[in-house]
């Protein structure tokens, strides 16, 4: 049996969805592999949706919004772009290529473009094959989701433009680089910590084993373990008495 990709599309109400309708009115043909969720604005797309989409069995995700400058809500699409870029970084960190995630713009008048984008993306996914939901991949996606769903990150992601473009609580404008750096470190750390927590669900591990599985150096791994121990999420296996302590999930 040949592979039929399952694709989820998020379409913004004002441009992309209208574009898709236009494609229909105009009878532009495209493959039937996409399922559409209408949102009012591409800015509504929470990056945390994406790992769940893959976990739910989709092979690709398309997010289509208005062209820059055309957003019905002024800057929703720009924010979507920022958030998705951020997500791509995270995915890339975990060795998940961003090619299965498409963000593009389709205006209400671009029925043709909608059909072509859909067609092209479907073909691309078909050529990539099904999303490889291995156990490891599942762990990664769960971790990414958990990190993105956390309050800290959501707040930061939401606040970032204000901090960079307007001012922070002290009435100062924060350097974009600094915001990016804080955001990235925070997210990366959360993500890695979540991954460790998921690893330890299956049993105890030494620091070395964890670092290997995270594909990180011990030097980068140890501080994560320290933080997790401090937060009470993990502890030490009291039965282990060798030179290499084993970490366990606690609580």
């Amino acid at each position: 049996m040949s592979f039929e990709p399952k694709i989820l599309s998020f379409l913004c109400n004002w441009c992309a969805y209208a574009g898709a309708d236009l494609a229909g009115i105009s009878r532009f043909q495209y493959p039937p592999n996409t399922r559409v969720i209408r949102v009012m604005c591409s800015g509504r797309i929470d990056p945390a949706f994406i790992p769940r989409t893959f976990l739910a069995g989709f092979d690709g995700v398309m997010i289509l919004g208005c062209h820059p400058g055309d957003c019905h809500y002024i800057s929703g699409n720009i924010q979507a772009e920022r958030k998705i870029a951020f997500l791509r970084k995270l995915l890339a960190d975990e060795g998940i290529g961003g090619e299965r995630l498409l963000l593009d713009w389709v205006s209400a008048g671009e029925g043709q473009r909608f059909a072509e984008l859909t067609k092209g993306f479907t073909e691309l996914i078909r050529s990539l094959g099904p999303f490889p939901v291995t156990e490891e991949m599942e762990g990664k996606l769960r971790a990414i989701h958990a990190s993105l769903a956390g309050e800290k990150i959501r707040w930061m992601v939401g606040k970032a433009p204000e901090l960079m473009e307007k001012e922070n609580v002290y009435g100062e404008r924060v350097d974009a680089e600094r915001v990016g750096e804080v955001l990235e470190t925070t997210v990366r750390e959360e993500l890695r910590k979540n991954r460790i927590l998921i690893f330890l669900e299956a049993g105890t591990m030494t620091a070395k084993e964890i670092s290997k599985k995270l594909n990180l150096s011990l030097k980068e791994t140890l501080p994560l373990l320290v933080s997790l121990v401090g937060e009470g999420g993990i502890g030490f296996d009291p039965s282990e008495e060798s030179h290499y302590p084993r970490y366990v999930r606690s609580g």
Binding site: G232, G235, P238, S250
Partner: protein, 112 residues
Amino acid sequence: MRLSYPGNVKVVKVPCTGRVDVLLILRAFESGVDGVYLAGCLEGECHFLRGNLRARRRVEYVKGLLEEVGLGGNRVEMFNMSASQGQRFAQFAQEMTERIRLLGPSPVKKGE
């Protein structure tokens, strides 16, 4: 530290474990508790010099009494910790809860 430990553990505050007498422990069992443990200062660090050492002896004595009446001496224990060993407290609470769980409910439980 917000470590979690089982909710089964209820604490009765005393100025010193030296205040806990043999009878109080027995009365607790009479009321139907499944286990009792005393958490005192580390040995040698008793705020009242040696109350914890006395408490340990009493716990040993009560163990014997509980054996006699067939409840099992393991239902009572003494352990020592310092004020900064929250983790140890949680760990012991866990251990004791597990131990009592294995021993099953006290045969003198009320209303059963």
